[in-house]
């Protein structure tokens, strides 16, 4: 189970990012808990300077742009491999 957080104060780009993440998760069949973090004080806990940002398992993986499907696919499948290795 992945935890994916989308950091952004609610601009159009952040909404596009959320849609892209949801689509990638559905397409890849990953089980994930997707959360939107909109409060600025919470966002700043991740020390990002530009939003939208995507945090996967508490690690900032994308910042400042809407991720492409390919980028997300690489990130999500990468994570899956790592988790298998550690088991």
């Amino acid at each position: 189970m992945r935890t994916i957080k989308i950091l952004g104060t609610g601009c159009p780009k952040c909404k596009q990012t959320e849609a892209a993440v949801r689509k990638a998760v559905a397409d890849l069949g990953v089980t994930a808990d997707i959360q939107k973090v909109e409060d600025i004080q919470d966002i700043m806990l991740y020390n990002v300077l530009s939003t939208p940002a995507v945090v996967i398992d508490e690690e900032v993986r994308i910042k400042g742009h809407v991720p492409t499907a390919t980028e997300l696919e690489a990130l999500l499948s990468d994570e899956r491999l790592i988790s298998v290795e550690f088991k």
């Binding site: 609610g10 601009c11 780009k13 600025i40 300077l49 530009s50 742009h65 809407v66």
Partner: protein, 324 residues
């Protein structure tokens, strides 16, 4: 470079639609198609170039550079230039502001970035290039960058950090976050799809505004009499510049919608300095931006911030009217 668009518009309006070039409608339609295609193309190119610059010099890199180097005043200019080349997103300004303050960057330098970021953005540049040409675009961008640097410096000297929201002040006293910038380790080709997607989505996002703006501009060209504004506003009275800025601040318009209209104003007799000041007031200072900043600043600071920036916009407008 643009002759093929001219040819395209010719074929489409006079050939396929069969409208004669001498008519009012034919002329307006030709103008509309030519300008729209040209501007969308420029917009895509500029966003693409900015995307590449941004992939290699993200703001994180600027922050760690500013933390490590003493620049003896040049840091204001550097932050301002960065604000110009970073694709602007209003919702990014707050995280960026806090991130800089927390990283120990002087507040004036942070403001320099914050002023220029909306003022000189990709959409404004593309529209200026398309409607006014290279010289005016360079004047606009150059004065915007200078204005950001000087405005930031002045705000720093006013020691406005006293007026930040409590929680931001508390955060600023904590040890600075260094967070050195580390390369993502991605090569150019793997970044390209994201950059292209970004450029496409920006063009798509402003498409409607460009069309509406150019449409209004095209219509006004035909129906507003020559020298109309000159009679009322363009006679070089100094007070028209502050008036234009005061009218502009509460207005919130996309650069894409405002430049084509301003171009008509200038063509019909408004001095360029007044027009540029109006444009800067519209896109550089806005009420939605003030609402966003309220999360990190007290009302007093927002008023000081807007006051300082508006003053410099007025001064640069007056200066342009004198020298151009």
């Amino acid at each position: 470079m643009f002759t093929w668009i001219e040819w395209l518009a010719d074929k489409l309006v006079f050939g396929i639609l069969g409208i004669t070039p001498e008519t009012h409608l034919g002329e307006a339609l030709h103008f509309f198609i030519y300008d729209t295609v040209k501007i969308l193309l420029l917009l895509f190119l500029i966003t693409f170039i900015m995307g590449i610059v941004n992939a290699y010099f993200p703001v994180e890199r600027l922050r760690s550079f500013l933390q490590r180097n003493r620049l003896f005043g040049l840091e204001y200019l550097l932050a301002s230039i960065f604000g110009a080349v970073t694709p602007f997103c209003s919702c990014s300004s707050v995280p960026l502001f806090i991130g800089f303050v927390r990283g120990g960057i002087p507040i004036g330098v942070t403001f320099a970035f914050l002023i220029t970021s909306p003022l000189v953005n990709e959409v404004a540049l593309a529209l200026f290039l398309g409607m006014f040409g290279l010289e005016t675009t360079l004047i606009y961008a150059g004065s915007g960058i200078l204005l950001g640097a000087i405005g930031g410096w002045v705000l720093g000297r006013l020691r406005v950090e006293r007026y930040l929201s409590d929680w931001v002040q508390k955060m600023a006293t904590q040890p600075a976050i260094t967070g050195d910038y580390t390369e993502g380790g991605q090569n150019f080709l793997s970044r390209l799809p994201a950059i292209l997607q970004e450029a496409r989505s920006i063009v798509r996002g402003v498409l409607l505004y460009v069309i509406i703006g150019i449409g209004i501009g095209a219509a006004m060209h035909g129906y507003v009499p020559e020298g109309f504004f000159e009679q009322y506003l363009g006679g070089g009275q100094w007070w028209t510049v502050p008036l234009a800025v005061i009218l502009a601040v509460p207005m919130y318009a996309n650069a894409a919608g405002i430049v084509p209209v301003i171009q008509v104003f200038v063509a019909k007799g408004i001095p360029l300095g007044t027009a540029i000041a109006f444009m800067m007031g519209t896109i550089g200072l806005s009420l939605p931006e003030a609402t966003l900043l309220k999360k990190v600043m007290t009302m007093k600071l927002i008023l000081i911030f807007f006051g300082v920036v508006a003053t410099f916009i007025i001064l640069s407008g007056l200066l342009f009217n004198l020298i151009l």
